[in-house]
Symmetry: C2
Amino acid sequence: MDKTAAIFKEFLKGRGLKFTPERKAVLREVFSLHRHFDAETLYQELYRKKVRISRASVYRTLPLLVKSGLIAETLRCQGKTSYEHIYGHGHHDHMLCIGCGKVIEFRSEKIEKLQNEICRRHGFKPVEHRLGIKGYCRECQRKIKMKKKLPLDSAE
Amino acid sequence: MDKTAAIFKEFLKGRGLKFTPERKAVLREVFSLHRHFDAETLYQELYRKKVRISRASVYRTLPLLVKSGLIAETLRCQGKTSYEHIYGHGHHDHMLCIGCGKVIEFRSEKIEKLQNEICRRHGFKPVEHRLGIKGYCRECQRKIKMKKKLPLDSAE
DNA sequence: ATTGAAAATGAGAATAAATCGCAATTAAAA
DNA sequence: TTTTAATTGCGATTTATTCTCATTTTCAAT
Ligand SMILES: [Mn+2]
Ligand SMILES: [Mn+2]
Ligand SMILES: [Zn+2]
Ligand SMILES: [Zn+2]
């Protein structure tokens, strides 16, 4: 049925691992979300939906999904390891707004090519890469400008 | 005397903070190291040198050094936040060998330009970025090839 | 020099993410 | 079915980092 399930199942079988209901549930939830997420969030979301599987299983399943190539870790935003699904989505990089936390995704063929080129020059065989640009989105830049116009005070 | 000390002092003064002996010691150690490092390593190194300052002070000082622009966080390798000094060193990106942990530094003007270009297109104002490429260095590739030549067994 | 207020320190407790140990359960190949 | 290795949940544990707070220190103003 589900292509992702088929892929995951296949991946597991290849390693003598089992396609358990818990793993199925995590997979399902992962692909129902359309944002970046972390283990705890996923656990909570499942809990809310009355899918009672343990945190441990969530923590144990996510790395498997990464290895299977269905999801990937994203830039670590604040302490927690976060993920995004990759399947049917393709590789991309991120801009992260320092002001509001917004995430902008982008992909540059040129940058990807240059990276490979550089790796080649160093005899380095790239497996994955992550590019994250922190800064301010349009809206936050506007907000900041307005604040500066105002007369006084500014803690922080 | 020391330019970095002058900068840090200036930075601190500007915020009503104090240039204490503890902060001086951390700064000194940071610039004596020439590799990436984490808080605990720095603490241990200071301890070894009989500089008795608390972990808490190390943990408190590093973020200040980051804000001052003298050092920066690097790609998180394994759980710990790691840093490198930036002053007098210039921005660069990293390749990280999955096999042996080696770090290769590089800088590509072209990639930097492309990044800025893309940010402009998105109305995004970049503040800092991090590009990390994980993969295998020359030596580790060789090792892997040899292993494959051997007849049997391979856990993991 | 003295003083005083604000900031910093050290020591250990507290927190939070992630991992682990283990007894009980379960998937799935034979 | 049976069998066996894999998996689960639970709580305990680990590890990095932050926090608390009583005491000490800095530094600018007297
Ligand atoms: Mn993304
Ligand atoms: Mn570096
Ligand atoms: Zn924003
Ligand atoms: Zn290597």
